[in-house]
Amino acid sequence: MRNPLNEVHVPVVDDLIEDDYVRSLALAGIALAAFLTTLGIGGLLFPDSIAGDLAGIVFNAGTATATARLAAPIVLAALGGIFAEKSGVINIGLEGLLIISAFVSVYATSLVGAGNTVLGLPAIVVGFLAGIAASAALAGVFGVVCIEFKADQIIAGLAVWLIALGLAPFMSTVFFGGVNTPNLGVSVGWSYSAAMVVVATAASWWTLNHTAFGKHLRAAGENPKALDTVGVSVSRVRHAGVLLSGVLSGVGGSALALSIGQFVGSGETMVQGKGFIAIVAYLFGNYNPIGAFGAGVLFAGLDAMQVRLQQLGYAVPDTLVQTIPYVVVIVVLALVGRTRLPEAAGEHYETED
């Protein structure tokens, strides 16, 4: 029998080298490298100028560790978003998944008590796992709502964000008496965050491009009918994709909160739009985990730089500097423009019996 999956055309992989997109990405990479080199030389020649200060910031260990810390939620949520969207479910609720895991990881750690262990696991590890579980559970609900009850994915994703935005500060007030939790006194080092980001990126890339599951996932988003014809359940694959987005975002949200040892629930919470920036990161990376990694690190680096700029006491108002990553996101999105959504993303699939 002919295997219809062979005919599933997956342009992102097939045309990777030919793609204009990759060329422009390479160009952007070279431009960035050139800029950094100029900055570095300028900084060395004129150490007292603004260029010197900027170079000091860019090539600074503090900036590097801050980037690693801030990149974790963006890159991991972006990887999760790729899995969900590749399978055909647009998960705009990544922000909510980050929020809920950030809170639950801190709560669970404080419940166990910093320094205590459960079954040999330190409290902070238990917190990490609890954060992942909470995020996966919320993603599971989102999956059921979208796949079984055929909800509008954008609105349901928005609901996930709004529910988490309400629930996390609500629970924080119930348990700790305020929207911000007290500091745990323990935290996860930046090197762990960096390691998780790198491992997750590599694993996601491998899973998507070199496993049967990855092929099913892409088929569920591009041509669900073909997948159905070879006898693989489309909705099961999509549930898996959405759950994976929950697990990965859970790792990211827990890493964000536990790297500080506290959950901040005021305003937009400590997540502050990182879930939405993650969406742009994977769009920028054109659904390629490595591209999403690059974009995520770039956005995190911008964020880290503005923190350092503030510490150096520049007269530029810090709020204006904070705006840079958001402007960059819009410019990037306008330039990259036509990102190609998976063919069947956002659509419900009815099994034909």
Binding site: K150, L162, V174, F175
Partner: protein, 430 residues
């Protein structure tokens, strides 16, 4: 027993006439979503009341004797009764509170929120009908409100201080807000039309940018002298929209609500009964067909987003001129709540009014919950999210409808509806 059956049957008959009507169905789904959210919220209150620490139990569950720190019945009673200023006197001999007047502070606060949400809800609804998801109403409101405050403060010395001068200033201020909000809304519209940049992302980013830029502008340039918070100067008293009957501390003016109602009717006519509205709707439903039919879809996209932004800007103007009297950096989440309002209203301008009133109630009620109970007021934000989630899944309610026999294919009783709702509640809790 047979009598209950008969009642159930007649209710079913009544509902069946609605099943095929899409507007009525939407209405039914919205009501069911609200009900379901209240049910789920009930369990969230119970669960959090079980784990919270308190001296004495506020509510003890019958039969089991378990004590809870929060009393869910009291929470809901305070939420809805309090938002209206306690017209009902529970547990008293007469059901109604004899001291209640309609022009009380709580109802004023509720209606103030309602008024603002009418504008932001309309803003989101207009974009939605054009097939655009404007999450940027918040940013458009921030920008529009700032423009209003600055223009009115700058123009005030030119106009006489009488009533007429005040009205002129208010009109100028609202126009300034509409223009600024419209420009801010046109940006994602143009990006969508000509660069194919997803408007969901760009509007979210523009929200952050608007908040930051407005903050810096006011902090560095326009900050009122001696102000401890980041805020502009107050607009002169006569340029603020004043209440007729309600107490001034409620920050509510009947005239603004009336204007909101006019906007609702105006937009309904615009969307349903004009050529522009037709272009808007067709490019929302079938962009390719609209283009084929001679509609300039790109231009319609920009226009729709500009109109949407202008409405958000008017919302900001009303917020400045009615609620605050100045632009202040802590802008409430009116734009985000506008999304909820629009979705609950089925993106129909006529539905925006009742939906805005419901969220006005929740807002007014949240304040009362803060005063009267120990339950965190963030509960209301959770309810908001739940309502959106349930409205997003009409298929779920259709399934229940089919299960309950609303399509006439089988007998059922009203009880199945409730038990299905309750089990769903447990799931969403997780």
């Amino acid at each position: 027993m047979s009598r209950i059956d008969a009642i159930a049957r007649s209710i079913r008959e009544f509902l069946r006439t609605f099943v095929d009507l899409s507007v009525a169905e939407r209405l039914l789904i919205s009501v069911a979503a609200i009900f379901l959210s209240v049910v789920v919220g009930f369990f969230i209150i119970l669960a959090s009341g079980r784990v919270a620490a308190c001296e004495t139990a506020a509510w003890t569950m019958p039969v089991t004797g378990l004590g809870f720190c929060y009393d869910p019945f009291q929470v809901y009673a305070v939420l809805f009764n309090g938002a209206l200023g306690y017209p009902f006197a529970f547990g008293e001999p007469g059901l109604f509170n004899p001291d209640w007047t309609p022009f009380n502070l709580s109802l004023g606060l509720t209606l103030s929120e309602t008024t603002l949400l009418v504008f932001t809800g309309l803003s989101v609804a207009v974009a939605f009908r054009a097939g655009l998801f404007n999450i940027g109403t918040q940013g458009q409101l921030v920008v529009g409100g700032l423009a209003t405050a600055l223009v009115v403060v700058a123009a005030a010395p030119v106009f006489p201080t009488g009533r007429l001068g005040g009205i002129a200033l208010i009109v100028i201020g609202v126009f300034a807000g509409a223009i600024a909000g419209g420009v801010w809304g046109a940006i994602p519209g143009a990006l969508k039309a000509y660069a194919d940049a997803n408007e969901v992302i760009t509007t979210i980013m523009l929200n952050f940018i608007a908040a930051n830029i407005a903050y810096v502008l006011v902090l560095e340039v326009f900050r009122a002298e001696g102000s401890s918070v980041v805020a502009t100067q107050y607009v002169p008293e006569h340029a603020q929209i004043q209440p007729w009957f309600f107490p001034g501390s409620a920050d509510f003016a009947e005239a603004a609500l009336l204007a909101g109602v006019l906007f609702v009717v105006g937009l309904y006519v615009l969307i349903e009964h004009t050529t522009f509205g037709y272009d808007l709707r067709t490019s929302g439903i079938q962009p390719a067909a609209a283009e084929y039919g001679g509609v300039n879809a790109k231009l319609t996209t920009v226009r729709a987003m500009t109109l949407s932004g202008a409405l958000g800007g008017v919302g900001g103007a009303v917020w400045v001129l009615m609620s605050e009297g100045r632009w202040i950096a802590s802008v409430p989440d009116l734009g985000f709540d506008g999304i909820t309002v629009s979705i609950l209203a089925g993106n129909n301008p006529l539905g925006v009014f009742p939906a805005a009133f419901l969220f006005g109630l929740l807002k007014g009620g949240a304040l009362e919950i803060g005063f009267q109970t120990d339950v965190p007021t963030e509960l209301v934000a959770v309810l908001r999210g739940l309502i959106i989630l349930f409205v997003a899944m009409p298929e779920f309610f259709r399934m229940i409808g089919r299960y309950a026999g609303l399509d006439g294919s089988g007998p059922a009783s009203g009880a199945t509806d409730d038990s299905a709702a309750a089990s769903e509640g447990g799931e969403a809790d997780a």
